[in-house]
């Protein structure tokens, strides 16, 4: 107890020095928590953008198709029949589903041409699973059978296309022959997802099926569930359930997407950078313990003369450093909480700071980013500050405690 009392008093011996070191730790914690909140907020938004405008919660497709889906093949498709439509409603937490065909497409205005991803959709069903309706800025979504297209605002700007303009959409049929769709631009969409805005052309499913000569086939189904954070077991169970149809179908959660893995990997990389920042704080602690030991050499000598054991002297320094860690941890968490609160309330408009399209870096994001609360970050950072400070002080404290008492007393 007396050593704790002594350590607390020593903590306040050089208030300014203690506060500066605690401030370094606090800054590191504040920085980590804020950045973590930013990353989590960005991740949440990225995931939300993927779910709401591209993927839904779950997709169902032929397993062989899924392996090659990035190449947009027209083989290994699945029949859009009553049986599968009925089956899809059996998934737990089911809300809605929609059939879709993804295919390669070249969009031409007669002068310029650009490759895009064509999406054949069943309008009403798709609006139940993807949140396009709120983001149609001009015109409206087509009806089945209409030779109309909905394109993204960015794509329209690049190609200088306007509502009611006609475009030629060049594609290859299932048998690899060229075919075209002449379509009027019936709607322009501007979602928070840049991929949708720039790379996608939506067309009526029946028109696409006819053009591609795929009869009543689709590449996959998009399924919307009641809850975004559904239990992964649901997917597994439904996958097993699907196998009874014997159609080689697979169920794929949004969590399995490459974009999700990439985003998570980016966070790991950022954590490493933040670890470096926190290491600097640890160096601050080591520095302060060495300084304290040097200026208290006579006291250390006297303590040894009084019969204090080395571990007791180490403990007094370690307790003092831990106190700095606690101070830094508390201040850092308070600052972090204020920062995350403001960040989650007002958000941060990324475009104001960086005028670049993040989709080029695999981040489907163009809207404001709001901070996300992560209690784990607060707990982990506080513990890191306390235990980091404690551990950082052990070696210099050992060095001080091992000083020869005579040399310490007489400052030799």
């Amino acid at each position: 107890m007396f050593l704790i009392k002594l350590s607390l008093k020593n903590l306040m011996r050089h208030k300014r020095r203690t506060m500066i070191t605690a401030a370094i730790i606090a800054w590191a914690i504040f920085f980590y928590i804020t950045f973590d909140s930013f990353l989590l907020g960005m991740n949440d938004l990225v995931f939300q953008n993927i779910i709401d405008y591209e993927y839904g919660h779950v997709q169902v497709a032929n397993s062989s198709y899924w392996e090659e889906k990035d190449e947009l093949p027209l083989k290994n498709l699945m029949v859009n029949d009553e049986e599968i439509n009925q089956k899809l409603t059996e998934i737990e937490n089911y809300k809605a589903h929609a059939p879709q065909i993804d295919f390669q497409l070249r969009l031409s205005d007669g002068i310029n041409e650009t490759p895009v991803i064509g999406k054949g959709i069943s309008p009403q069903e798709t609006l139940d699973v993807l949140n396009y309706e709120d983001y149609i800025v001009e015109g409206e979504i087509f009806k089945a059978g209409e030779r109309k297209a909905v394109i993204g605002k960015r794509l329209a700007d690049i190609m200088k296309l306007e509502l009611h303009d006609y475009v030629t959409l060049l594609t290859r049929t299932k048998s690899e022959t060229f075919n075209t769709i002449d379509a009027e631009i019936g709607g322009i969409i501007n979602t928070p997802n840049p991929t949708v805005n720039q790379n996608i052309v939506l067309l009526p499913l029946d028109v696409v099926q006819d053009t591609l000569s795929v009869d009543n086939m689709v590449t996959h189904y998009i399924v919307r569930l009641d809850d975004q954070n559904f239990d992964p077991q649901i997917v597994q169970k439904f996958n097993e359930n699907l196998q009874v149809m014997n159609r080689n179908l697979g169920v794929y959660s949004w969590r399995d997407l490459d974009e999700v893995s990439i985003t998570q990997a980016k966070q790991t990389g950022n954590n490493f950078i933040l670890l470096i920042v926190l290491t600097i704080a640890a160096i601050g602690i080591i520095n302060i313990v060495i300084l304290a030991a040097l200026e208290r050499m006579e006291e250390i000598g006297m303590m040894k003369a009084m019969g204090l054991k080395e571990r007791e002297i180490i403990l007094s320094f370690v307790l003092e450093s831990t106190g700095i860690g606690v101070l830094g941890g508390i201040f850092g968490c308070i600052l972090g909480a204020i920062s995350v609160y403001l960040f989650s309330l007002y958000g941060l408009d990324f475009a104001v700071f960086v005028d670049i399209d993040m989709s080029a870096f695999g981040v489907p994001l163009i809207s404001k980013i709001y901070g996300a609360w992560n209690p784990d970050a607060f707990i982990n950072m506080f513990l890191f500050a306390v235990f980091g400070s404690m551990l950082a002080s052990i070696l210099p404290a050992r060095w001080a405690a091992k000083k020869d008492p005579v040399q310490a007393i007489y400052k030799r």
Partner: protein
């Protein structure tokens, strides 16, 4: 049995390739309750002798019996244990902890001992501070005390754990002669009242006159060992 017995104690410091002998075969007996000074010029080996006796340093050669046990070859952990329980120190520069009050500085020495109740600690610390004339100054920090008062705190700290031996290395060197004399008187009073053995070094003739036994050290060897009757001390 003597409290302390030194047999042919030698201490050699190694400075690079040069060997510097600080003690050259010291033979010494100190009885319980003695008030002894070790005097001599600078570099005569006074501090080294006190350090070796106080278990702060080990002799290069020889035997040191403290309460009958040879402590010369003990491990530093055991030496720390002996210091903790049996030896009090008073240093020239007081070596008080600046963030602690006078009370807490004295308390520190007894807190590190086990099996003493808080009440007992409080009584002993207050009593000790009263004995050294610091009643009412318990809550002052070292920077609020004069040099003499600081040294009194150091004396109280060395005595509060009731050690068998108090070693004081030039306890009056940083004090003016009047204050130094006061400090010496307090040490002598403590010696008489508590029967604690005192061994202190000095090169101040005024201070050494207070000792009942004077040991002169020259070039690491005892050259004179005089005892005085108790009645002569204050003359």
């Amino acid at each position: 049995m003597s409290l302390l017995e030194l047999k042919n104690v030698k201490k050699i410091y190694h400075q690079g390739t040069i060997n510097v002998p600080a003690l050259k075969g010291v033979e010494l007996n100190v009885e319980k309750g003695e008030f002894t000074t070790v005097f001599g010029p600078s570099g005569s080996g006074k501090t080294t002798l006190l350090n070796v006796i106080g278990c702060l340093d080990k002799p290069t050669e020889g035997e040191i019996y403290f309460t009958g046990d040879n402590i010369a070859d003990l491990d530093k952990r055991y030496l720390a244990e002996i210091r903790r329980k049996n030896i009090g120190f008073v240093f020239q520069s007081y070596n008080l902890i600046p963030v602690l009050t006078a009370y807490e500085n004295v308390e520190f020495a007894i807190r590190i001992l086990k099996n003493i109740s808080s009440k007992e600690i409080k009584n002993r610390v207050f009593k000790m501070l009263e004995l050294v004339g610091l009643k009412g100054l318990e809550n002052r920090k070292p920077n609020e005390l004069s040099g003499g008062q600081k040294q009194r705190v150091a004396i109280a700290r060395s005595l509060v754990k009731k050690p068998k031996l108090v070693l004081a290395d030039e306890p009056t060197a940083n004090l003016d002669s009047k204050t130094g004399e006061e400090v010496l008187k307090i040490m002598l009073e403590m010696n008489e009242e508590l029967k604690t053995t005192f061994l202190f070094s000095t090169h101040d003739p005024l201070v050494m006159d207070y000792a009942r036994r004077k040991i002169e050290l020259k070039d690491g060897q005892i050259t004179r060992d005089e005892r005085r009757e108790e009645k002569d001390v204050f003359n």
